[in-house]
């Protein structure tokens, strides 16, 4: 299944709404900024772009924008001074507590700690909102694709979720790829042989190969 990713960019308009312009991953430069969309895409967008994943982040904008699909209810009190967080090259737009919605989704603290557990940390001492402040970005290449991406390894605790994310990133199927990595010594190895903790300590960059 080919995943076509539509990234909605914010445009300048009086009510802080966004236009949506899709662009193909492969036609862009290596840094692909992901802008938080301040308004949901219109219905028509869903018609001509099949399998588009709307990239949305919930934040105060969602609180203010009531019934975003309905033009009449557009809310103009939007906090337009939200900093535009540009997550360079990470496909998952990371929620940060600042500017985010407090207490949503309704997940208890003890669970949030598990979801966003930092590698090597026993799970305690997190700041409670789950948005880890440490990132560990490494470059990922896909065989046959010129543009490199980056992935935050701190958002993963296992090879499976990592490969799944990377496969999605390049529009490939999980079963069609295999993951290799370059370690501290410069050697390229097949990922999965060493425990995750050791992998994290030694990895320099990743490459996805077609099976």
């Amino acid at each position: 299944m080919e995943l076509y990713l539509g990234l909605a960019l914010s445009s300048s308009s009086s009510s802080a709404s966004s236009c949506s312009s899709q662009f193909d991953l492969n036609c862009h430069e290596s840094t692909i900024p992901v802008h938080r969309s301040k308004k949901r895409k219109h219905d028509d967008d869903y018609d001509h772009v099949p399998q588009t994943l709307p990239l949305l982040v919930w934040n105060n904008n969602f609180c203010c924008n009531k019934n975003q699909l309905n033009e009449e209810h557009q809310d103009h009190d939007n906090d337009g001074d939200d900093d535009d967080e540009v997550e360079s090259n990470s496909i998952s737009v990371r929620h940060r507590n600042i500017g985010g919605v407090i207490g949503w989704p309704p997940v208890k603290l003890c669970r949030r700690k598990v979801c966003h557990r930092k590698i090597g940390n026993g799970g305690g001492g997190d700041d409670g909102d789950g948005g880890g402040s440490k990132s560990m970005y490494v470059k990922v290449h896909m065989e046959g694709i010129g543009i490199a991406r980056k992935v935050d390894l701190n958002m993963h605790q296992s090879y499976q979720t990592l490969v799944l994310t990377l496969a999605n990133m390049f529009g490939k199927c999980y079963g069609d790829v295999k993951l290799t990595y370059q370690d501290k010594e410069g050697d390229w190895l097949l990922a999965g042989d060493v425990p995750w903790g050791s992998f994290i300590k030694t990895i320099q960059r990743l490459k996805l190969l077609k099976k």
Binding site: F62, S92, I102, G103, P106, G130, Q160, T161
Partner: protein, 578 residues
């Protein structure tokens, strides 16, 4: 009645439900008197609804007290620190009045080490301490409990926030303590002395429930299990270790000896290679909590398909639709399903879990009563199917991660879907809404949800009419919690007497004015109308400004005085103005 007191007392001893006992006490004066002297268990759903003195005055011979403090939304950081819920006034009075107290169960309360020490020294026959989502104490307090409670049967710290100073507290259980039946320390992070733990388990022949914390290593689990083959509920520690055949073999063998195990939990940091060690107990499992296990669908599926007697499952959304489908085929006795999000703060799906998984379970599991489901898409047709499949649902909590997400197929609001749920599930007691919802869904809820006791609403509705439907229609409503909805003064002021029939109402980021809060308070003296406003300076605010947060509850104890400065109870008597 003609019966002697002793006979009535004996009859009453068979009546254990709180509501039934309350009813009994209302029959006549003599029944009220007899009943109050022989009531042994008290449940106070809101610690501010009544004062400790009142409780003690009416019920002098109590053996078990259960209290709840903070509102439910405190679990999601919506209730500011310092709000209240202090156990202190209760323990002070009970220490004096109830020397024979055996059980204390607290939820969302602030408990200090001093409180714990006072418990440990005041009640000679103290047996059960359950601290659920509590905070304010450290492992020092636990040490006092361990050291001084000679007949301790149960120590359960579920999900409490404990200041973890060291694991040494466990070593304070004296060698003479052999009464332990239940120990839940899963929320603690410090490592306890393994030898102390081992010896404690070995000398507790009645130990049925043991929930370890993450720090207990997997390699040592088999040692503990061998000393407690009678365990019924086990919570593992971290479930990974270096892959060693001897560790694996020991673990497998230890589990195979646990013939009584019915419930498993724990499973942090799971290394899938170690999972087969539990297979021998799977056929007897009625309860399985894998909600901390970051394992993928195939591994989860392999386990659950071996658990035909499963009644309760908690799992991460890694289970995916395929896993839920397998669940629906294998676990025909399932009563409760809870699916938690592995990556709640990310907009696009990291796993293939959709509404289809829940539909499948609703089809295959005819006894399903209770659902908690986090997902990223939902449709009216799926909700309607679920409702028609499972009219026996009593608890339905759906959380679509994106606020105000519409039906993903039709882009309409999910009013009709949730309407189907309340219409078909006539025994529904608890409901949590999410997704795009208009006032219409509340019309349905008010019309159909006659048994509904607790309702949670977020980012929903269009106007006061929505809230009015709920307050005027839901006959059994006890707890209502609302956030970020356009509900204001009109609905509240039109339904003031309803509020006295409920335990509590929470509203945050809505459109209720300060003036309305004052008027409500003046109309209803037996309600505490508490306004929470962290921006301060409530006195200088105009009456038409919206309050940040509002907590209204019925009480016979009058306004409380343990609040921080940013919480104010609205005046009940307008002549007293500071």
């Amino acid at each position: 009645m003609g019966f002697p007191e002793e006979v009535l007392e004996h009859v009453f001893s068979f009546i254990t439900s709180h509501t039934d006992r309350n009813v009994v006490s209302l029959v006549c004066k003599s029944w009220y008197e007899i009943e109050r002297w022989c009531r042994r268990r008290i449940f106070v759903g809101n610690c501010y609804a009544v004062s400790p003195a009142m409780m003690i005055r009416r019920f002098p011979e109590v053996r078990s007290v259960e209290l709840k403090g903070k509102p439910h939304f405190a679990d999601f950081n919506l209730v500011p620190d310092g709000w209240g819920g202090y156990f202190y006034p209760w323990i002070c009075e009970m220490a004096r009045a109830y020397p024979w107290l055996e059980e204390i169960k607290l939820k969302r309360m602030v408990v200090t080490d001093d409180n714990l020490e006072l418990i440990s020294k005041s009640f000679k026959n103290f047996k059960v301490l359950v601290l659920s989502s509590c905070e304010g104490f450290s492992t020092h307090g636990l040490a006092a409990i361990a050291a001084n409670c000679r007949n301790l049967r149960e120590l359960d710290l579920r999900e409490s926030e404990v200041e973890d100073l060291s694991g040494h507290w466990l070593s304070h259980f004296p060698d003479s303590c052999t009464s332990l039946q239940s120990l839940n320390m899963s929320c603690l992070s410090s490592e306890v002395s393994f030898s102390a733990l081992q010896r404690l388990i070995a000398r507790s022949p009645n130990l049925k429930t043991l929930r370890l914390n993450r720090a207990v290593p997997l390699e040592k689990l088999s040692t503990l299990l061998r000393r407690a083959p009678q365990l019924v509920e086990l919570g593992t520690g971290a479930y990974s270790a270096e892959i060693r055949p001897d560790v694996y073999a020991n673990l497998t063998e230890a589990f195979s000896r646990c013939k009584e195990v019915k419930g498993l939990s724990g499973f942090w940091d799971v290394l899938p290679s170690y999972l087969p060690a539990i297979y021998s107990v799977c056929s007897r499992l009625t309860s399985l909590n894998l909600s901390y296990a970051t394992i993928q669908s195939p591994d989860v599926t392999k386990i659950i398909t071996q658990c035909p007697n499963l009644q309760s499952l908690s799992v991460l959304d890694y289970i995916e639709d395929t896993g839920l489908n397998a669940l629906s085929l294998s676990c025909k006795d399932l009563r409760e399903l809870r699916v938690f999000p592995s990556d709640p703060f990310v907009a696009n799906a990291n796993v293939s879990l959709t509404e289809q998984g829940l539909v499948a379970v609703s089809e295959g599991c005819s006894k399903l009563q209770s659902v908690l489901y986090f997902c990223r898409q939902m449709s009216n047709s799926a909700l309607t199917t679920i409702a028609k499949n499972r009219p026996n649902l009593t608890c339905f909590r759906l959380c679509i991660l994106e606020p105000r997400a519409p039906d993903y197929l039709t882009f309409e609001p999910l009013d009709v879907g949730f309407g189907a749920i309340v219409e078909h599930c006539k025994q529904l007691q608890r409901l949590s809404l999410s997704g795009l919802l208009t006032d219409r869904v509340f019309e349905y809820i008010g019309k159909w949800a006659k048994k509904l006791e607790m309702l949670s609403i977020a980012f929903a509705g269009d106007s006061d009419l929505g809230l009015h439907h709920v307050l005027s229609g839901c006959d059994s409503l006890r707890k209502l919690e609302i956030r970020d909805c356009p509900f204001g003064d009109k609905a509240l002021l039109a339904n003031v007497s309803k509020l006295e029939t409920m335990r509590s109402l929470w509203m945050s980021s809505c459109s209720v004015s300060l003036g309305a809060c004052k008027r409500l308070s003046q109309k209803m003296p037996r309600l505490n109308v508490e306004v929470i406003d962290e921006q301060g300076d409530l006195d200088s605010r105009p009456d038409n400004c919206h309050v940040e947060k509002l907590y209204i509850y019925r009480t016979v104890a009058g306004p409380r005085f343990d609040m921080p400065s940013f919480i104010r109870t609205m005046d009940q008597n307008p002549t007293y103005r500071s």
